[in-house]
Symmetry: C2
Subunit: 233 residues, 2 copies
Amino acid sequence: MQVQTLPTPPKFDGSALAVCRGLDRRAAGHVMAISSLRRKAAGETLFSEGDDADCIYEVVSGTLRLYKMLADGRRQMMGFPAAGHLLGLAPAGTHVYTAEALTDVTLCCYPRASFHRLVNDVPGLARRMWAVTSDELRFAQDQLLLLGRKSASEKLASFLLMLADQQDTDHLSLPMTRTDIADYLGLTIETVSRTVTKLKREKLIALPQVNAMDILDRDALEAMAAGESAEHF
Amino acid sequence: MQVQTLPTPPKFDGSALAVCRGLDRRAAGHVMAISSLRRKAAGETLFSEGDDADCIYEVVSGTLRLYKMLADGRRQMMGFPAAGHLLGLAPAGTHVYTAEALTDVTLCCYPRASFHRLVNDVPGLARRMWAVTSDELRFAQDQLLLLGRKSASEKLASFLLMLADQQDTDHLSLPMTRTDIADYLGLTIETVSRTVTKLKREKLIALPQVNAMDILDRDALEAMAAGESAEHF
DNA sequence: CGACCGTTTGAGATCCTTCAATACCAGTGG
DNA sequence: CCACTGGTATTGAAGGATCTCAAACGGTCG
């Protein structure tokens, strides 16, 4: 375990990592043995779409943005993973999206080659990876419904509720820009801005700062996110 | 070369199933032991969103449609799995989409409880499930880009190329209706129809029948699908 | 043939985008 | 202290891609 002597997590307890959840102490130790920590400053690129996937990453602290791009530059955000999320969940191949640091981040890095040896040796690890990947898939499928069939208001409501769930509070901080949000929801920055204003006017949310929002009427937001209305607001 | 002329596989060779790919003969035998075949006629429902996921399914023959719905009935297609595809790729929980038979289908059914015992016992099986789920995830992420950022023409081009890939020919058969296609691409039936007409007019495709299309200019379709144009056609 | 169902085509409406101007905010330097 | 600057967010007006509503078309099947 080469995890000692780090400025921020004063003591880094590897066994608390998400990959290891559900594994016993001994197995978790094996996983930790191949891991190393890595830091990126806000704005830096962790890897790009098409890069050889040499590592599986786990976010330890901070927030990333993941996106894919079309030939002419149109961008689709895939997510904003924060602490506990895993990246590059494929047994092999190349990265299918670009990962950039949204804030300063700390990551735990598992080299793919060693990781695969472990997957064969450590009982329960492959099963764990299946579970984690399956959760990601479920999430992506919810996002398909959002992008394909929800209106701008419904998209934003869904997004804010997702953030609330992730941050475990109704006082949200938004580390990403409006452009990032727009590219996540399949909208333009102006539509996001207008929709935020509308939700604010309707007293469903409040904006203490530009990059912070409070959820005022969770029930209404949830109804909206679920598409419970013929008039899509 | 699909030259055999088999109406349906007269003898069912389980070891050819997708779950088993990469497993040795003995391991594949264990998996086959818990499986059972199941048939559904076109239009029947295999399971519904929210149902308890008691089985993992593999499509043996025919095509399904998978979809999620919003409260007011708006529908988003998740895919049209055909032979070789797996369904219900989560270690536990409930189904997150509805699965209906588009054509008559044969499925191989692995009861979840027994399957999980196997996952712990058969080396390589959990790893295989991870790989399969990870492929699904990758596919879903491509679809996110499509739904969030592509124009109607680009969506249709992408869809046709995906079918060509799946069917391994440029002479496509379309077992699904225009409504199904619309719900897959996040469009309306009328827009799908108009876009098909446009691609036909531009000689990128031909329509020998309503439910069949020929790809005439694959390069142009691929450029279109990749978003290689400022004017989105 | 005629009814039925899915598809195509047309005309008008709408949500979202585009283009453009304005506002806000933090940092910098006069 | 305040003007200036650059970056991001908001607001406005006009346009456009897609949707909605409606009619016509075209195969299939009794």
